[in-house]
Symmetry: C2
Subunit: 244 residues, 2 copies
Amino acid sequence: MLLAQAPDGLPEVTSSTDLAAALTPVLGGLVWPDGSTGLAEGDIVVVASKVVAKAEGRLRKAADRDAAIDDETVRVVATREYPDGSTLKIVENRQGLVMAAAGVDASNVLPGTVLLLPEDSDESARVLRRGLNARLGVRPGVLVTDSVGRPWRRGIADITIGAAGLDVLQDLRNQRDGNGRELRATVIAVADEIAAAADLVRGKTGGRPVAVVRGLGHLVTVEDGEGAHVAIRPPEEDLFRTGR
Amino acid sequence: MLLAQAPDGLPEVTSSTDLAAALTPVLGGLVWPDGSTGLAEGDIVVVASKVVAKAEGRLRKAADRDAAIDDETVRVVATREYPDGSTLKIVENRQGLVMAAAGVDASNVLPGTVLLLPEDSDESARVLRRGLNARLGVRPGVLVTDSVGRPWRRGIADITIGAAGLDVLQDLRNQRDGNGRELRATVIAVADEIAAAADLVRGKTGGRPVAVVRGLGHLVTVEDGEGAHVAIRPPEEDLFRTGR
């Protein structure tokens, strides 16, 4: 059974917030259907990149938005101009992620400001994991997630951009299916699937940027592991390096 | 709280299987943490396209795999040849979906055969919903899902290719964020996020092709609705019509 919930009660996060300290009472107060409370071994804490970035002080002035996008851009993947004069830029950003506007975000931040992504979301996840472990005595998997558009599909969905203590990709290539046939190409993007599941309970407008997912303890690891950057498709495998 | 589980016990599905009839005892036997059993209003039944296609008799001989892929292809999006002589074709198929090998599948089917996608997965979802409603007395949301690769990201993840009774896209464009700023571009691909959550509990090798997701009743609708085809990005919005 997979369980996921997004607690209320996280105070507004600013650059002076210690995120692990702010999350500790919120996660400690979780109540589960079996009557247990708090965080347990094998749980996965899924945090929107937005609050991580706020805690890391990644704000810039809104007037600098275009410059911020340019600064975060490593490579322009596609550009489109609209009749109203605005331009959509899909770019590879400094974290290696392909995102509209390089991940520079204007929603759920103070008027007059825009928010950059965390400098290194894998490191952010590791730091948060250590902080939660020190305070709560358990070692959850920790994911930092963001919403992205997708080619070919309408709507945005959440993916994992930072991870600690989780198998980001589940490699089933040595296993066999129910008919004994080898699963040759089957590597499951489990961290992205967990990000999507967490988004369903967090929502975009309710002030609940953190979710806890229970029931996937087989994916949680003692070591922090390689992080979410292993989910980025290397250029030589990538048939969609350039859009139009 | 979101709950998701994938029951055991579905018998092997063949072209003579009535899928709603086969699922009825399996879903009726579900046990939930609050002690309730079976399916309830607001639940979402998430079925792998594979079993839907099997029940619809969408098998072809493996020797015809390349011809089957060509038959299912409307448009070639990208092609890559590998040193071993094999070719990867990413195409738009007759269902409008962009997929490797047009969605023609060789895993978890009988040796010597390949499986096509359902002819019309939205209709498959509607039929299954009616059948479950007649037998179980509730009107769940029904999703038909498949695993796809993604540009820029490693690993496969599940998306929804057929839907009945669910808001496939959740449009938040008239709502405001916590700072009163309008969420201009925010349409959430909730059906794809539910598909991803369901994949986490179903797995690929355990013979559990069906999951039930509870806790998202606000997305379930009385009417069957437009179906999953609304999640396909129309060509004029699509910056990634062609890969290389």
